[in-house]
């Protein structure tokens, strides 16, 4: 009986051997003890975080300082606290950590130490008015009395289209200028920022470059030079004031750097929130979720944008005038004088 199948037996042995070899190409499972999780998180940030040098953070020194707090007898809450403090050292709104199944969330507070420069109720009631039009779910526009278009863009989460922007700019084509209020806009999809900016130029404009982390080495970066390309649709070339505050973050920073080189565009308000890097997220071996910046954007003026930038014209809300938005008023004045 055996002899009958002798030809197949070596093949069967070969088959069993090779089908068990996928594990040979896999690294061993990491540990989930405190020390292993600390090392895993530190290594991920060391290898992938794109702005250690720009932020002036020596990550090796961070290891030396914080590793001393870690051993396998401390609680998960204590481990979480140490990793959270390391995260906050980077002062980066894109870099955060969620631990203990959502119990703790560590994220840099952008607004801390800065004044509040947005009152949405005042913007809607006193300026946007009743006769506004919507573009998608997050953009609305109307015309202010001195014949200046007011565009309020609350976030970049909802989809907008070129057709929607074309329609809006067609409606606003006879205005004297535009105010684009992106205060409090915490970002979303940066492609919408590029789409909107493309309507404000008729030629390709260099806007800066993004340094991406491409490998674990400290100097493993690639450089993507970015130019704003004009739309095929409706363009608007008259004065444009973009209103900023500390809540301007992430994809809204993309809008700022893409429009900054355009001669008719200027910013009014307060320092922006930054968040210039592209982000990546993942899970540690114990399931804790992290996000980090894997790149840094440097604009056409060689400015590092991640901590935010000052506007061209600084203005703030005055709490003594609760029904007035001094930043919009200042933008109107600037447009009228141009």
């Amino acid at each position: 009986m055996i002899k009958k199948y002798y030809t197949l037996l070596p093949l069967l042995a070969l088959f069993i051997t090779i089908t068990s070899c996928e594990k040979l190409d896999m690294e061993d499972q990491p540990g989930t003890d405190n020390v292993s999780i600390f090392n895993e998180y530190w290594t991920i940030l060391h290898e992938k975080y794109g702005m250690l040098e720009a932020k002036g953070v020596n990550w090796n020194e961070v290891y030396s300082e914080y590793a001393g707090y870690i051993n396998n007898s401390i609680s998960k809450d204590s481990l979480s606290n140490v990793l959270g403090r390391m995260t906050l050292l980077l002062r980066d709104g894109h870099t955060w950590l969620v631990t203990n199944a959502g119990k703790y969330y560590y994220n840099f507070d952008l607004q801390k130490g800065y004044p509040i420069d947005l009152n949405r109720k005042v913007v809607k009631k006193q300026y946007l008015g009743q006769n506004y039009q919507n573009v998608g779910d997050s953009m609305a526009y109307s015309i202010l009395p001195p014949n200046i278009g007011l565009v309020v863009y609350r976030d970049f989460q909802s989809e907008i289209t070129d057709e929607g922007i074309n329609g809006m700019l067609t409606d606003l084509k006879d205005t004297r200028g535009l105010i684009i209020d992106v205060r409090g806009n915490g970002g979303g999809d940066p492609e919408y920022a590029g789409m909107l900016a493309s309507h404000f130029t008729e030629e390709k404009v260099y806007t800066g470059y993004e340094l991406f982390k491409t490998g674990p080495g400290e100097n493993a970066f690639s450089k993507s030079e970015v130019s704003l390309r004009p739309t095929n649709g409706v363009t608007y070339l008259k004065p444009i004031a973009i209103l900023t505050d500390r809540g301007v973050f992430s994809a809204t920073t993309t809008l700022l750097y893409m429009t900054d080189p355009l001669p008719q565009v200027f910013t009014v308000g307060a320092k922006s929130g930054g968040g210039s890097g592209s982000t990546s997220d993942g899970q540690l071996a114990n399931g804790w979720i992290y996000s980090l910046s894997v790149s840094e954007y440097i604009d056409a003026k060689e400015r590092h944008l991640d901590d935010g930038v000052m506007p061209d014209v600084e203005a703030h809300l005055n709490t003594n005038h609760p029904n007035t938005d001094e930043i919009i008023e200042r933008a109107i004045m600037e447009i009228m004088n141009r």
Binding site: T19, A101, G194, V226, Q283
Partner: protein, 282 residues
């Protein structure tokens, strides 16, 4: 009429095969189609994303077509695997894996005696989509591997449970591949796209007009690809046009776009296949 046309189209696209069934070692099977269902077991690790391994079980489904002559064999197979993978280290690490695959194989008979030996080549396309609902920017990633493979198979007939059964061992070795992986070392876009410095927010990598623009050519050594299988085919009784086979196959790939950060996957399939010979003379 319209519905009939659609059905014909589907059959053409997903035609696949199966394997080569023979009543004897010298007889030739005409064209036949098959439908396969079964269980998939997958092991996966992507060191660019995390060090932990993922494992899980799911389902596999295939449609196939094959044609066999005295000298050669054509096989076409299309299929899909769905597997829910988890980490053994944490209940919070969970990834859904969907693989869509398409194979075209051509084999020539080298020897047709007591044992049949076949040798040939094949093209395999694998689209592997991974989804982790707990993440945001990296929630969905995929890789797309188009592989040129060296193929071989050995067949031998024997009796089992009063039936003539054909045992088959097949082996495919990846020679080179054109691959695209949306997960780079640090970001959800192809590694080559980042390294070439092409990234902006007015047309990301995935929107490129040319579907092969950001594929990378990977060769044996870095790219390791093996497909192998064992099959027991219960050959049709005289006058019958259908038969069954049971099989086990293993599909393995591993590559590293960034040194030391390999992506490795091994999928084990247990399957039961129904075969129908559509132009066999009774």
């Amino acid at each position: 009429m319209r519905i009939r046309n659609i059905l014909i189209g589907v059959m053409t696209i997903s035609g696949t095969l199966m394997s080569f069934a023979q009543e004897t070692n010298t007889s030739i099977l005409p064209g036949h189609i098959k439908i396969t269902g079964g269980m998939a077991i997958q092991n996966y690790q992507n060191l660019k994303a995390a060090q932990h391994q993922l494992n899980g079980t799911g389902s596999t489904f295939e449609l196939g077509w094959g044609k066999e002559t005295k000298r050669s064999l054509w096989l076409v197979t299309a299929g899909m695997n769905n597997v829910n993978m988890k980490s053994s280290l944490s209940e919070y690490v969970e990834v859904k894996s969907t693989a869509i695959k398409f194979d075209i194989d051509y084999l020539r008979r080298l020897k047709e005696e007591n044992v049949n030996w076949l040798l040939g080549a094949g093209i395999n396309s694998n689209f592997n989509l991974l989804n982790n609902d707990r993440l945001q920017n990296d929630q969905s990633t995929y890789n797309f591997l188009n592989t040129l493979m060296l193929k071989t198979a050995v067949q031998k007939n024997f009796s089992l449970l009063g039936r003539t059964v054909q045992g088959e061992f097949s082996l495919g070795l990846g020679l080179l591949a054109l691959g695209k992986d949306t997960k780079s070392f640090s970001f959800t876009t192809p590694q080559s796209f980042l390294e070439k410095g092409k990234y902006d927010y007015q047309g990301a990598a995935n929107d490129a007009d040319d579907p092969f623009m950001y594929h990378e050519l990977m060769t044996i050594g870095n790219y390791r690809r093996i497909k192998t299988g064992l099959k027991l085919r219960f050959l049709p009784k005289s006058g019958k046009r259908h038969f069954w086979d049971v099989g086990y196959s293993w599909d393995y790939y591993s590559y590293a776009e960034v040194t030391d950060y390999r992506v490795t996957s091994g999928t084990h399939n247990l399957s039961l296949t129904y075969n129908f010979m559509f132009n066999r003379k009774k």
